[in-house]
């Protein structure tokens, strides 16, 4: 009897757990919005990175388009996308560390560093593949500098 009950209870718990997991998918539109911007950074970097590594042929126009996109992405005002309570201790659907909300000025500076590196890439991307390669390091470094301080590893 006892045993059945606990199996039943365990079943209920599992259902409840799945319920919360589903509820979390897309529960916080702000998290969805900001991770979408991150994905767009990565997609456009992929175009540039493929050329830098020689996997795709260098194409000045395509490279410039990708660099322009990254610049535009850095200009989006993200103020509404980082509401209080959307850190990874409170909300299991995000990898954003609570430290973000304790260090807004520094997070802003890291965002600005990315914006600067993106502008430098915009100037370099259309010149030639060597210039593009040269601008790649600072751009990637700006992503990692922020991920180092403010992003938890994946689950």
């Amino acid at each position: 009897m006892m045993k059945r009950f606990s199996i039943f209870a365990a079943g209920l718990l599992t259902v409840a757990a799945i319920g919360t997991a589903i509820a979390h998918e897309g529960e916080n539109p702000a998290v969805k919005a900001r991770t979408s911007i991150m994905q767009l950074y990565a997609f456009n970097l992929g175009t540039l990175g493929g050329m830098a590594k020689g996997e795709t042929e260098y194409d000045a126009e395509a490279a410039t388009r990708a660099a322009n996109n990254i610049v535009v992405l850095t200009q989006i005002d993200q103020s509404e996308m980082w509401p209080a309570g959307s850190d990874n201790v409170t909300d299991p659907s995000t990898r954003a560390l609570p430290a973000i909300w304790e260090n807004f000025p520094d997070v802003g500076a890291k965002g600005q560093a990315l914006a600067d590196a993106a502008v430098a890439m915009q100037a370099a991307a259309g010149q030639d593949v060597e210039a593009l390669k040269g601008a790649m390091g600072n751009l990637g470094g700006a992503c990692s500098a922020c991920h180092k301080a403010y992003r938890a590893p994946k689950d």
């Binding site: 201790v89 990898r95 470094g141 689950d155």
Partner: protein, 302 residues
Amino acid sequence: MRRFFIFAAVFAVLVGLAGLVLTRPQRVDRTQLDGITPDLARGETVFYAAGCVSCHSAPDAVGQEKLNLAGGRRFESDFGTFIAPNISSDPVAGIGSWSALDLANALIHGTGPKGQHYYPAFPYTSYANMTAEDVASLHSFLGTLPAVTTESTAHEVGLPFNIRRGLGGWKLLYLKPGWVVDGDLTDQQILGRYLVEALGHCAECHTPRNGLGGLKRDLWLTGAPNPNGKGRIPGLTSDQLDWSEADIAEYLKSGFTPDYDSAGGEMVEVIENTSRLSDDERLAIAAYLKAVPVPQIEPPSE
């Protein structure tokens, strides 16, 4: 990572105090360093491959300042705080007066010049596999770095964990020189093994630990809980990391994943070091990772 080291240290002391084993600090036979001509360029490579700078530079130092090995980084825990010492070339505040033999004893046996045991927060369990040539070259290279007079700060660790003698027992259990991945390896994989197992101490973060803080060698590089909070330190075995060898080498150079995400967390400082290695060395690390056996038992899914 920090918490794990701390665990290791704490249990070491406990094991020792329990009187299970009280071992004498081990030392390198001085003849092992005889006749070696140090190579400065090699010493620099060893310095970065072994990541000394990531722990011994001053907290928040950037760029060239990182070469001032003043120490001061704090490794916090519930039991107290370990503070990385000054290992700059200053003869008083740093280790400028140390012989190559002194450095070899520290790196290979975790033993200080006064015969004291070091806490495993200093990853000598990996460095135990360093060659005498590399220790001698590293010793010469460290001598070329700036002398910094900042005093080392004492660890903020209370009784009973501050009794170094107790570490002997832990060392007997977990300071085990020798390779984890053995068998038929190519020359490239053997180079990669040296870079990962001896110098890079990748396993300190990427391998789970047992209750005594020792690495679970049968779950080598299968990933581990993140000691600093949520998330997981990813596994590097081929069942979990399906990147090509070129992709792995690229990540260790630029920090970009094959999807152009960029590395984060504690891996960023590791990549600052691996980005200074040669392409061949990074490819060797990748080739080694492909040769790490995938364990039959499922790693615990925390």
